[in-house]
Amino acid sequence: MDLTFTPEEQEFREEVRSFFRENLPQDIADAVKAGGELTKEHMERYHAILAKKGWLAVTWPEEYGGPGWTPVQRHIFDEESCRFYAPRIVPFGLSMLGPVLQKFGTQEQKDYYLPRILSGEDWWCQGYSEPGAGSDLASLKTRAVRDGDEWVINGQKTWTTLGQHADKIFCLCRTDPDVQQQKGISFILVDLDTPGIEMRPIKLIEGGHEVNEVFFTDVRVPYENLVGEENQGWTIAKYLLTHERTGIAGVGFSMLALEEVKALARKVMRNGKPLLEDPLFAARVAQVEVDLEAMKITNLRMLFKAVKQGAPGPETSILKIKGTVIGQELRDLARRALGPSAAPFPGHITDGNLALAPANNANNAARYFNNRKTSIFGGSNEIQRNILSKAVLEL
């Protein structure tokens, strides 16, 4: 048992820190800190900074232009990027499609798409969920029919995150309706400029525009846009889900959120005293702090196990369940700490009426509502429990 990092890993942490100190633009860090929506320009500028350093495709092996980091190094990078209020790397091309192409793509697909992901030339989005296929993803209905050397796609995708910025989408489509659900799905790449595609924004609970729905009407794409073999899509989808699980616990974000809650509760006055001195509020903070402290170790234990075994196991679902609940609890405390000052709609707050809340906290209620998504997306926490029940408890 040894919870310390090696000297090399410590050195790496220092390198990451000085990189962020010197290269992360203040306006981007401020935007992240404020907790509002980042613009496409923010994200592209940040990606370009990482790309220049060779640190953008953190999960890619060196041969494809990744930094070749160990899982521990990736963990350190994640932690430090949270600490410096760096944005989260947009995952769709880099940590989702990239690894899929590296494992299942043809040489032509790798040669064409991978450099374009790295350079930011292509912005990908994900076409998985459908109105009738959420937790039960394998029941998806979007149909792709082969017609000569083309696919003809009809159907609807939804919850397409940041699709408004994207120029390409990778889709799971039904290519054989007559076999067992999981065996009739294919993974197809689609250019969003193709005629017949319509993207509509979905306004979220707090008013933000993060996700979209995408409609496909007789959309024709080349047959070679198929990744892997025909009807192998479910295997690819599962690979993608198990492949990228570092950071799933959101420990770095929660550590920061805890500090923010404490800082806020030291400033906010209640009954003539700082809120943090209120025993009930302090107890709520302390309890989530304890859970987070344990989560840090749980996260490292699973990371250690993944390194030893070569891949993360199904028990990483624990990270998703507990990690999201901790994050949501912290967002709840941050909202509650402001009391009625959290209520004004973020867009209605001006310098003139800012007296109500410290500037960084104007979004606390919006962030609380937005954060409810974390226990729903990426396999809802109930689906994670199903996975654990089946794969770990063997029930």
Binding site: M1, D2, L3, T4, F5, T6, E9, V72, P279, A282, A283, V285, A286, Q287, E289, V290, D291, E293, A294, M295, K296, I297, T298, L300, R301, F304, K305, E315, I318, I321, K322, E382, R385, N386, L388, S389, V392, L393, E394, L395
Partner: protein, 353 residues
């Protein structure tokens, strides 16, 4: 970073687990745990021979361990069979004697049984509220006061007692023969005593002992939390087995999602418990030990209650019987919360830190 046990500790863990599984099956355990003297002198001797006590003290104090992970390995093994032997008293006494530089040969060999008497009726957890008084000096020190629920006290040869003299919290040694010891068995097995001191002869072990007592409490917390993890692990496995075997409505009740998800929530909290114990154990001999021990005891208190209550609920009626082994695990896990500070006590300490 390494989450595997060292080879030495793995060997200690294996040999303790093997011995306890073999010699302390639950029928034996229940017989020992619920009948006076609420421990087995024979098994106590065998445990000591296996090195279970030597592992608790550092080398310069005559042991071969003494780190948080040594404590954790020993107590997790004890927890797996909910062992009623008074090892906790030996651990806490050893911590105090190490700080005092006292000879521990008789303690570590198991020849002399020690109990550490800190809690009082009106101060079960808080060192700052202790009222037992020490007076006199040199050869004529006496103690007066009442120590309550002293675990292992029913069979202790020697008590190390926390008492106040001139506003200073010290540690005093009292021979069991010199004091009034009222022993009893506990609802969850094993025994304890009320220690009634009235001008009772004592010798001073540590005059200024607040820090040493806090260290003993911290080590005791790592021990209890590890014991809880061992016991929770076993109780959870029993529950999952039961869910697979028990049939109602023509199928195994473990096929019902409502129960599956609850069994998973138990697993999640047990893994979190294991994590916080690793953290507390790693910090036990460091500066922030008290904070991390409070965190561990708080989390274990919450997780323990969830695991014990859910295990009983999902077993149904059978877990309400004395006969079912799981019942005794549930009792022990719940009652650990009442030792060395409960969930709320430690939560308020985390909040104040």
């Amino acid at each position: 970073m390494d989450f595997d046990l060292t080879e030495d500790r793995q060997m200690l863990s294996d040999s303790l687990n093997r011995y306890l599984a073999d010699k302390y099956p639950v029928e034996t355990r229940n017989k020992v745990a619920y009948e006076a003297p609420f421990h087995s002198p024979e098994k106590w001797g065998e445990l000591a021979e296996l090195g279970a006590l030597f592992a608790l003290a550092p080398e310069d104090a005559g042991g071969f361990g003494g780190s948080g992970f040594d404590v954790s390995v020993v107590f997790e093994a004890l927890g797996r069979v909910i062992c009623p032997e008074p090892v906790l008293g030996a651990l806490m006494a050893s911590r105090l004697m190490t700080k005092a530089g006292a000879d521990q040969e008789a303690l570590l060999s198991g020849a002399t049984k020690y109990a550490v008497a800190i809690g009082e009726l009106e101060a079960p957890y808080d060192l700052g509220s202790i009222k037992t008084e020490a007076s006199g000096s040199g050869d004529s020190v006496t103690l007066s006061g009442r120590k309550s629920a002293v675990y292992g006290g029913q069979v202790a040869d020697v008590f190390l007692v926390a008492a106040v003299a001139g506003g200073r919290l010290g540690v005093y040694e009292v021979q069991a023969a010199d004091a009034q010891v009222e022993g009893y068995g506990m609802i969850d097995g094993a025994g304890a005593c009320e220690l009634l001191l009235d001008g009772t002869k004592a010798t001073c072990l540590i005059e200024d002992g607040a820090a040493a007592l806090q260290d003993a409490v911290n080590a005791g917390i790592v021990a209890l939390c590890s014991e809880a993890v061992g016991a929770m692990d076993v109780l959870h496995a029993m529950t999952v087995d039961y869910l697979k075997q028990r049939k109602q409505f023509g199928r195994a009740i473990g096929s019902f999602q409502a129960l599956q998800h609850r069994a998973v929530d138990m697993l999640t909290e047990i893994e979190q418990s294991r994590s916080i114990v690793i953290k507390a154990a790693s910090e036990l001999n460091g500066e922030d030990a008290t904070k991390f021990c409070s965190m561990a005891k708080n989390l274990i208190g919450r997780a323990g209650r969830l695991v014990a209550e859910e295990a009983i609920q999902m077993h149904g009626g059978i877990a309400m019987t004395w006969e079912y082994p799981g019942s005794h695990y549930a009792k022990r896990i719940i009652m650990i919360d009442a030792q060395l500070g409960d969930t709320d006590y430690h939560l308020s300490r985390v909040a104040a830190a």
